[in-house]
Point group: C2
Chain length 405, copies 2
């Protein structure tokens, strides 16, 4: 089992780097790290898999999103750990170790952007570029007490990023505060001055609160009351069945839609390589991969149509000026090493992805804010808005949480 380097108590670094800025701009004076499924020129990209790393040459170009940050004045200080093929929400890599959860050292950091979260939370960088398909930016942000944003699907270029599930995967950012999050995201989104609607409605996704642990739920409700007072707007509870106009549970977002798209797309990307090259696989991934191999995509094609219908329904409900709130994760970080039974894995994944899949199928921008503390551990409160309303969401979150934009 690999250990953290003595010079890296965060356990997040795959390689310490010092790539100077390539220009000046809104990120002047900031530092960032890059998840190891995002290309850095001259360094092999592992995607969390030593076998993948060794089988592929080093890229000659940075990922485009990395160059955007460097050109805006930021300095890249490291390449950081990703879960194997970024196919996990744990952050416990059998190959690269478990990056340290700075707020709860005996607990997992969450994944798959585990090194991104740990590098920021442990003070190595101001922000980190990660990726998010089923929650891989939002979950570690929630569990490590960071700000994290998954923008609208496809708004950030994926050139130089393994788009391992191209209809689902986004580039995102984790940061130590709102200022760095907003600055980095606006650079990556190429945000303009386009005026967007003022905040008009605050929806609360009831089903997500009901799924959460009672202590997470009561903290969420208290934080939302503060927000209602600050904004002077009422909280409007809404059920998933009202959003989509069908009597279906929130878990449909995951089990009947997003997970089907993810698995079908994963077969056409990473599976093709694994089947051809039979690399060494880590134990946690090999367990999950059994389900990928057994998945009958032809029988499941209705799930792809379900994704499209849910996208339409969710966005028809989220009119401009509307934000929807829910706990980012239903739980605090599980203890390290505790996800070693099927029951524990299913409980953590099914409940977490029931919530995270909502923005996934909606292709929504979502910001996780470190507003909650349960048993001394952080949990995020999430805010989401309609597809492409990223700039509205950033401004709204700053207003709702009293941050200066």
């Amino acid at each position: 089992m690999p250990q953290s380097s003595p010079v890296d108590p965060s356990g997040s670094l795959v390689a310490r780097l010092d790539l100077p800025p390539l220009g000046t701009g809104p990120l002047d004076g900031t530092t960032f790290t890059v998840k190891d499924n995002i290309d850095i020129a001259g360094h092999r990209t592992s995607y969390g898999s030593p076998a993948w790393r060794d089988a592929h040459p080093a890229p000659t170009h940075n990922a485009l999103c990395v160059d955007q940050m460097l050109a805006a004045g930021a300095r890249c200080v490291g390449k950081v750990v990703a879960d194997e093929f970024t196919y996990s929400l744990d952050g416990e890599s059998p190959f690269f170790g478990t990056p340290r959860n700075a707020k709860a050292a005996d607990r997992i950091p969450g994944g798959s952007s585990s090194g991104s979260a740990a590098s920021v939370a442990n003070g190595l960088a101001d922000f980190s570029i990660g990726t998010d398909s089923g929650g891989s930016v939002r979950v570690p942000a929630s569990l490590c007490g960071l700000w994290g944003m998954r923008p609208s699907l496809h708004r950030i270029s994926e050139a130089g990023v393994l788009p391992f599930m191209p209809s689902v995967s986004t580039v995102g950012v984790l940061a130590d505060g709102f200022a760095h999050l907003e600055a980095a995201i606006r650079v990556a989104l190429r945000s303009g001055p386009t005026p967007q609607a003022p905040l008009q409605r605050i929806l609360v996704l009831s089903d997500a609160l009901e799924i959460a642990d009672q202590s997470v739920r009561s903290q969420t409700e208290a934080a939302l009351e503060d927000i209602a007072r600050r904004t002077g707007l009422p909280l409007e509870p809404i059920r998933f069945s009202q959003i989509v106009g069908e009597d279906v549970p929130l878990s449909d977002c995951n089990t009947q839609a997003l997970r089907i798209m993810q698995t079908a797309e994963f077969q056409s990307t990473v599976s093709n390589w694994i089947e051809a090259c039979t690399p060494e696989l880590g134990f946690p991934f090999s367990m999950a991969y059994g389900n990928v191999l057994a998945f009958d995509r032809i029988a499941a094609l209705d799930g792809l149509a379900r994704c499209e219908r849910l996208f339409e329904s969710i966005n028809a409900c989220l009119s401009p000026g509307t934000v929807i709130c829910f706990p980012t994760t239903p739980v605090i970080a599980p203890l390290k090493g505790s996800l070693n039974t099927m029951d524990a894995v299913v409980d953590y994944y099914d409940r977490t992805m029931t919530i995270t899949a909502f923005s996934g199928v909606g292709r929504l921008p979502e910001v996780s804010v470190p507003l909650l503390t349960v048993d001394g551990c952080p949990v995020g409160l999430s805010f989401a808005a309609a597809h492409y309303q990223d700039e509205f969401l950033l401004r709204t979150v700053s207003e709702m949480t009293g941050q200066r934009s």
Copy 2:
């Protein structure tokens, strides 16, 4: 120089296949071919490059879009020629030959979905799956006299398709008529019954008509007059500068935006592989590739922001119920072998991409309809609508052109 197989007078086949349907549905009884940058299980994918083909193992899964067609009742009859790395609008491959333009045998078929167009136009299949980043479905559809559609960016899954420019590339369809086009596209889009606005406005993109050859322009105007009579709606000429609210030419879509995004993204995808593996390159591609290598992406990052602003402006103008019309290409197909001087290449590419980049930066769905004939050669008339208005566009095109939906 490779020759067409005597059993394939179309010159389009890389491999003759017979993959039976995997289900029944709206494509029952139809046949299709697949461009050779889209995975077919058990067959190596070339991306138009023998070196790429030989360096990568055969996929174990079909691309998801191929399985969608098979599951809906279609039979796959062949893998067909693509231009090298799909980085061309010519259809003259130094490795796989020049698929036959069935309507003008002495002329190029257009590219990069050259084999897709030739296989359909020569009667081998009812439709073909291609890809389009800068016009690679629309241009061969126009030059070969076929129906072709590039849907809204990212609406069709790219799993198993080389997304060589992930912010730009779409999967699309070429077909022998409206019925097959609509059926195949609706399967790939997972179209639902969502009602969309009725046709209310017909815009005509004046700049595109002015760029076109005079004979293409006069044919376009005559066809549009027919459409105005059929629909009872007036034609509303509009200039690109009116759409974006700035005094800029239509060519900005290409030179100041789309081409910059394309080149920057291509560096992070195909260039990384070429630089690491130094494969044999065909002469036409190696000429174009010189520009890719010399491109300074840091200096050009403003072009990425320009893409985002143009996307916003174009879609703000194209309200629901609005369609915009223009010739798909400004010219008929050039003669085979005529694109052998820099002047000829620049004239063909710059004028063509000035038009095709409009839907590119707008992320618009666009249908090219074989309505025009100039000097005995086909040219397409294109119809585009706002991002995600694909189903509106299909229904509108059927009404405007008198097709039965």
